[in-house]
Amino acid sequence: MTAPPSLEVSRLAYAYPDGTQALFGVDFRVERGERVALLGPNGAGKTTLVMHLNGILTAGHGTVAVAGLPVGKGSLKEIRRRVGLVFQDPDDQLFMPSVREDVAFGPANLGVTGEELERRVKDALERVGMLETIDRPPHHLSFGQRRRVAVATVLAMEPEILVLDEPSSNLDPASRRELAEILRGLDVTVLMVTHDLPYALELCERSLILSGGVIAADGPTRKILADADLLADHRLELPYGFAAS
C-alpha cells in the first residue's frame, strides 16, 4: 500500500461572501516529500487557496484532503496540526511577547507540555538557526529573522506539509538565500506560494500555475519557466536578464 498524497485538492471552488468568485475548480496533488511552487499573478487566488488548506475558509464546492484526511468541521484540530501555514507578514504570525512562547503556542494548543514542549521549541528554532533568539521579543528581530521564527512556529507542530505564502517577499538577498538554505534542508513536504520565479526554480522541482482561479499549468519548474508564452499568458515574468535554461 502506498501512502496517501500529502495534499489532494479536487474541484475546489470558492466565492467570497461579497460574490467575488476567487476559485473556479482547482485540482492538484502534492506527493509526500515533494517541494512544489504555486505560481500566479496578484489576485490569482493563491491566498484564497492557501486558506482552504487548513480549513480557515470552507470550500464552496470540492474537497481538500491532507494525508488522506478530508478537511471538514470534525477534523479541524488534526488538519491544523498537519498543515503548517506560514503567513506572508511575520508580524501577523508572531503574536506572543517572546519567541519561546510564540513557538510553543502551536504545540501547547495540541496539548504538549513540560519537557516535550521545551524540546519541540528548541528543536524547531534550531532547524531555522534561531535558537539564540529564544528569549527575545519578536519585534526586536530583523525582518528576515522574524520570517525564520515564523517558519519555526509551524515546524514545532511537526506538520505533514509546510505551506508558505510569499516567503521571499520583503527579504534582502542575504536573508533570501539563508531562508532558501533552511527550506532546502527541511525534510517535510513544502508548498510554496510565490510570484518570485527564480526562487521557485531554486527550491522546487515542480511548479503549478494558478491563474483566474484554476490550475493553468503543472510540470517541472525549469520547463514552465522556459515557456515564455505560457508565462506571458498568466502575467508572470522572469526578472530582467534572467533565463531559465
Binding site: M51, N54, I56, K77, R80, R81, V83, L85, F87, D89, D91, D92, Q93, F95, M96, P97, S98, R100, E101, A104, F105, G106, A108, N109, L110, T113, G114, L117, P137, P138, H139, H140, T153, V154, M157
Partner: protein
C-alpha cells in the same frame, strides 16, 4: 536595542525580588496599597514606616533611588492637582509665607500626595523587577479576566508595530508637504487616525487567522509554569504583612 520603549520601566537583575513569581509580587503590591489607603491621614509616622518598607524592598532589589525618582514622573499630574487644593479649598484658613491656604485643603493635599507616592513607588518597584509579560502572566494566575489579560498581551506585542505604522504615515504625510500647524489641519490628522484604526483592525483579523491556524480555540495555552512555592508567597507577603502590622499597631496607640 532602541525599540521597546515600554521596557524602560524594567530593570533586569537577579535578586530575590526579581526571582519571585509575578503573581506573588502583584498580590503583595495590591495588599500594600490597600493598607496604605486604609491608613488615616493624620498618622504621619505610619506613612514614614511604609516609606522605610519600600526603601528596604528597593535595596533588596538593587534599584537605585535615581531610577525610582525618574520613573515617578507619572505622578506629576497628581502633584499638580494636590498643590492646587489648598488654594481653592474652602473653610478655615491659615497664612503661610503670605499665602492664605485652606486647612481642609492642606490635609486633602497631604493625603493624596502621601498615598499616591507610596502607591506609585510600589508599582515602579514591581515594574522594575518584573518583565511586562510576566506581570500579565501573573495577573492571569491571579484569575483576572482572561480576556483582559489577552488584550493587554496583544497591546504589549503590537504597540511597537502600531507606533511604527503611525510614524510611517506621518512621514508619508510630511514628505508630501503636509505639516500640522493649526486647527485647519485637524481633519487630515483625523483621517490618518481613521486609516490607522482600520489597518490595526485588519491586522487583528489576520492575527486571529494565524492563531486559528495554530490550533487556538479561545483560551491561551499555558506555556510557562509559573507556580509559586509557599515559601515565595511568604517572602512576598512580608511587604503587605509589615505594613499591616504598622497599621494595626498604630490603631492600638491612637
Amino acid at each position: 536595542m532602541g525599540a521597546g520603549h515600554h521596557h524602560r520601566l524594567h530593570r533586569p537583575g537577579d535578586t530575590l525580588v526579581h526571582r519571585l513569581p509575578p503573581q506573588c509580587k502583584l498580590a503583595a503590591v495590591a495588599g500594600f496599597a490597600l493598607v496604605v489607603v486604609a491608613t488615616p491621614r493624620e498618622w504621619f509616622w505610619a506613612f514614614g514606616l511604609y516609606a522605610v518598607l519600600l526603601a528596604a524592598v528597593a535595596v533588596a532589589a538593587r534599584v537605585p533611588a535615581g531610577f525610582l525618582l525618574r520613573r515617578m514622573v507619572v505622578e506629576v499630574p497628581f502633584v499638580v492637582f494636590a498643590l492646587a487644593i489648598p488654594f481653592i479649598g474652602i473653610g478655615e484658613r491659615v497664612t503661610f509665607m503670605g499665602l492664605s491656604l485652606s486647612v481642609a485643603g492642606l490635609w486633602a493635599a497631604w493625603n493624596i500626595l502621601a498615598k499616591a507616592t507610596l502607591g506609585v513607588v510600589a508599582s515602579v518597584l514591581l515594574a522594575a523587577t518584573t518583565e511586562p509579560r510576566l506581570i500579565l502572566l501573573g495577573a492571569q494566575r491571579l484569575r483576572l479576566p482572561p480576556m483582559l489579560v489577552q488584550i493587554a498581551m496583544f497591546m504589549l506585542r503590537y504597540l511597537d508595530v502600531i507606533l511604527e505604522e503611525m510614524r510611517r504615515m506621518r512621514v508619508a504625510r510630511e514628505s508630501r508637504g503636509f505639516v500640522a500647524r493649526d486647527v485647519r489641519h485637524i481633519p487630515v490628522i483625523a483621517r490618518s487616525a481613521g486609516a490607522l484604526f482600520i489597518r490595526s483592525y485588519e491586522r487583528g483579523e489576520r492575527v486571529h487567522l494565524a492563531m486559528l491556524s495554530r490550533g487556538y480555540t479561545g483560551s491561551m495555552p499555558v506555556i510557562q509554569d509559573l507556580s509559586a512555592a509557599s515559601r515565595q508567597w511568604l517572602v512576598a507577603g512580608m511587604l503587605p504583612g509589615a505594613a499591616l502590622a504598622v497599621l494595626l499597631g498604630s490603631w492600638g496607640v491612637a
